[in-house]
């Protein structure tokens, strides 16, 4: 298992992906410290261009864009790191539950169908409205939007695993159902779920941005890449760096995660 991971990470794609993500994580963790400017400090100079004091210029209420962008990555990483594992856990759990009993499977399938029937934007909007916008709402929305994907993947993997001969073999030597699940089925299910993980991370970032677009994302004054993009895109003609800097970072993050998931997938298919 570990061998496969390290092989995935060491493949050219995996390496590029890891580097990109690592770079962003470093920027998010240490960037604000090095820069030493508060992302909340407002000033008179609004929408100023890049200068010595404000390397990327300022936003519409005179806050430093670089500081906000760096903090924005932080928000997004945090959202990803909370929402996606949660969705993966929940989805896998539900998927497994659905794979174990016929009825459970039917019910899960319907629930997932209903969730999938809603478009992400609409589901996100509804969630954010129901539980007032903010971090919790964004995370909940992302979890609900991405859970069916994990659920279906887990269910499919489970069904595939259950018919595997080595699973039957474990039963015949007397391993209990629980042990078989834990020992033989879960690790392989986890494997196929992990491949989905990175893609979902990338998606989560996009969902956050989409919610921000309709004002239901991370709430001000806290910055996030999504809120900055949606706020900055209206100044794209006078202050292009406002929107483009977070877009670039977002694209880098998505790209890195996509590359990583690609690498993992390729490694997984190779066995």
């Amino acid at each position: 298992m570990t061998g496969r991971w390290s092989r995935a990470v060491r493949s050219p794609r995996g390496l590029a992906g890891t580097l990109l993500v690592a770079l962003l994580v470093l920027a998010a963790v240490f960037g604000p410290m090095i820069l030493g400017i508060s992302p909340y400090e407002q000033g008179d100079a609004a929408l100023a261009g890049p200068s010595g004091t404000h390397l990327l210029g300022t936003d519409e209420v005179g806050r430093d864009l670089l500081a906000r962008t760096l903090h924005g990555i932080r928000s997004d990483l945090l959202i990803c790191l909370v929402a996606v594992p949660l969705a993966a856990l929940l989805g896998t759990g539900l998927g497994l539950l659905g794979g174990l009993s016929r009825w459970g499977g039917e019910i899960m399938q319907r629930i997932f169908d209903v969730l999938l029937g809603f478009h992400g934007v609409i589901l996100g909007m509804a969630i954010a409205l129901v539980i007032s916008p903010g971090f919790v709402a964004v995370v909940t929305a992302i979890v609900l939007i991405t859970v069916p994907g994990f659920g279906r993947q887990a269910r499919a993997a489970l069904l595939a695993q259950l018919s595997r001969e080595y699973v039957v073999a474990a039963t015949t030597v007397g391993a209990s159902r629980l042990r078989v699940l834990r020992r033989h089925v879960l690790p392989n299910v986890t494997d196929s779920v992990t491949a989905l993980f990175a893609v979902t991370m990338a998606n989560a970032v996009k969902i956050e941005g989409g919610l921000s677009l309709i004002g239901l994302g991370i709430q001000p004054p806290q910055p996030s890449l999504g809120t900055m993009i949606s706020a900055g895109s209206r100044y794209i003609q006078v202050s292009p760096q406002y929107a483009l800097a977070p877009v670039l970072l977002l694209a880098m993050l998505v790209l890195g995660l996509t590359l990583l998931s690609d690498a993992i997938n390729r490694e997984r298919l190779r066995g």
Binding site: Y166, A170, T172, G174
Partner: protein, 580 residues
Amino acid sequence: MILQVEDLTVSVREHAAVDGVSLSVRQGEILGVVGESGSGKSLTALSIMGMLPTGVRATGGAIRFDGRDLLGLDEPALRQVRGKDIGMVFQDPLAYLNPRMTVGAQLAEAMTVHGTGAKAAKTRAAELLDLVGITGARGRLGDHPHEFSGGQRQRVLIAMAMANEPRLLIADEPTTALDVTVQAGILSLLRRLRDDTGTAVVIITHDMGIVEQVCDAAAVMYGGQIVEHGATATLLGAPRHPYTHGLLQSVPRLGATRVRRLPVIPGAPPDLADRPPGCPFAPRCAHATDECHTTRPPLTGFACFHPLSPAATVTVRDEQEEPAAREPSPPVLVADAVSVVYGRRRKAVTAVSQVSLEAGPGRTVGIIGESGSGKSTLARALLGLLPLAGGEVSVAGRTWDGASAKDRQAMRRAVQMVFQDPYLSLNPRLPIRRTLAEPFEVHGLCQDDEIPERLDRLMDQVGLPRAFLDRLPYQLSGGQRQRIGVARALAVEPQVIVADEPVSALDVSVQAQILNLLADLRDETGVGIVFIAHDLGLVRHFCDETLVMYQGEVVERGPSQRLFEAPEHPYTKSLVSAAY
């Protein structure tokens, strides 16, 4: 000579997977190319078709077909040859047919790409199906491959290969995926086609029996080289190369006398990457000398510095006495009128119907039947892995039905299973040690700190180095994996082992090793075995009693010897006559 392969070398990266192979086929001749997995048979065939996979290249030699060197042709020219002058049939008829196209369209395509009009092609397609013995040919053109049986699919593939009346037909393991009775039909079809059209045929196989049945001449491949070739009768009757000899001996044949242990070729076929510079067989050869290890022997009918004398024929096996009859002990595993049904209502399939059997220490019960006859289902039912639709299975007096969790554990200790495919039955992510430790852990057979010692002993028992314990399954060969499968079954010291086709997925020369291992264990520990197979010779060789299954039912049962010598049920008769 319609085809002449001269000194062909095919390289996979820097390694020669096919290493200086020469062959020739005459008009109307059927040549058999025999060899174990990985010996280079398919690559040779694919080189002739100019269809080597990417990353594999023909790096030397020539392939003369009709006077032209096929290796020198470019892709468009080759395309003119493929399917028109040379037809090819592949192993797995389902995989090799396009599941999304009708059979008629696929047949017609074989002709239209070589210039036949669409209408003519359609008419001819029906003729072809008729020719290969599919009844109601015209009406079946619109069917998709999944609507045909395995044998019929192979006939379709053959029909497709014969569409343009090629002068050479290459069949790569054309019957490996098929049942014995179906196999006989396909082989006779090939022979009939040869007789009718005069096409030359190259049959690639790992089965000496097929060579004996249909081939005029044969070539034996080993480690990428031809180690022996000649007319079938001579080759089989008086093999000169020790490998040919060993191969013939290690396969128990229906007609041969029963022996306790099969003669085996020790070791395993060489890896592509570390082939010895001399005779490829030298590392496994009892007669090998230093010369064999360093110098490659020339091929003069056989390629060996120390050939066997022509007199040492296979029929003269060193007879061993029949193993002493063991005193029968009371049966441990009893199946009483067991039925298993898959699916519900209209889709229900009765996979096993009213089967009874008894197995206990010291006895070997064989179960034989074609694919889908319910053998594996029965095996799983015996292990309590399936709900029964009728009857019951009991282990030491207790039935699986209604057994408490504790009882079940005890029953599991008494009955164990060895699976067919050693590649699928080991968890690819667990090191061998963890897989083997599992039975000890779940049954609490010993203290945790004793487990390593017990594992070492198990490894000794199945004849594997202890160091393998820390490998992952993919780092082992098929035979080695199957030994692990046996070791896992042995761990709980069961009284009966159910072995579901334990050697079907293995190389011929390795099959004998596993069979011997099972035989040895049976003799040493007295464990009873339920042995499932589709190969009559194996069962005849291995089992005291045999059950013949057909469509879920046992149609005949009796002591192996008598059953095969004087079969009574028509199905058993057809099985025996289809075998050689």
